[in-house]
Amino acid sequence: MHQTFDAALGINLLHANQAEADHNRAHFDEWGISCLNVMSSPGAGKTVLLERTLAALSNQLKIAVIEGDMTTDLDAQRLRQYGVPVIAINTGRSCHLDAKMVAGGIHRLEQEYNPADFELVLVENVGNLVCPAEFEVGEHAKVALLSITEGEDKPLKYPVMFQEADCLLVTKMDLAPHLDIDVQRIVANVRQMNPDCTIIPVSAKTGAGLDSWFEWLRSQIHYTQSLQKQL
């Protein structure tokens, strides 16, 4: 004979991931590292943005990259040319990085380098506008990219990503003259659900807007460092 019982849990479905993400963030805080989670659909220009960023900033800031890629090492190879540690995480068939995978990356950073030497860890997530928005990895801020070739309606269709973003880079602006795209409309669509997001139009090809992006990046580092001093 059986009896049925109820256990009220009331816990978040992503509880396990969240706990691991908080753990990662505690490590970053301890080492004085700002961590940014860089997300977009495939082909929006995450890797080239990181290339430009490393080229411009790697001699001023101590940067490491954690690179999520489904099956290949190609993006990591591109980024290693800039002389910074690039820890490649093969996510296999998983379409996003989760906190546990990033914990593995942090562990390697700890083994191979002195993590306290670093100021910034850039996490390049798997190209996907859906799941990465739900799986925190321990970042201090989320950066989303949307290329203008993707269309104005993407923030409306993938609202969670754009609602979660602290900074949105509207990429491939150099293509604007060739497209029927209204960038103001992209901005308005994002503003409907995220009025506080910093929105920066950029072109990795021409370099337009990149200085604003670097400025935002530096502001994140100072913000994390001032928080750390309060600890």
Binding site: F5, G10, L14, E134
Partner: protein, 150 residues
Amino acid sequence: MLLGRKCRDAIYRVSTELPPISHSSMHETDMTKALIITVRDWWENQPEKPKISHVHLTVGQFTCVEPASLQFAFEVQTCNTFLEGAKLVIQETQLIAFCHRCQQEYRPEIGIQYACPDCNSPMEDIRSGRELKIDRLEYETSEERVIGNR
């Protein structure tokens, strides 16, 4: 090991070791993995390792989770685990936002408009629709065990 037909079919369609072929998109597979890990954490802390019959979830409309895909992924991924045969019961919640300027709730139209329909203020205060919550578990235990426990 003998498997139920449903379970065998599910494994035939989608092994957890292989990329999902149909129905279940990848993010629901990962979401289900997260769900199973969370429930397993609870289950492993129970002295009696009870048989879980139902897992009750609340899934908001404003999340990246599609309930039908989640059902399918759950059925597949719980095969041969402590959750085999458990039913997933999903309660969906609507997206409801609160407009501070108008001092009222409204229902944003997902995919179309999120700002307040009356004053166009951005959607800042989400009151419902972001839930991804395991509400409760139903489990069975044999009477002897229960008596033994007392």
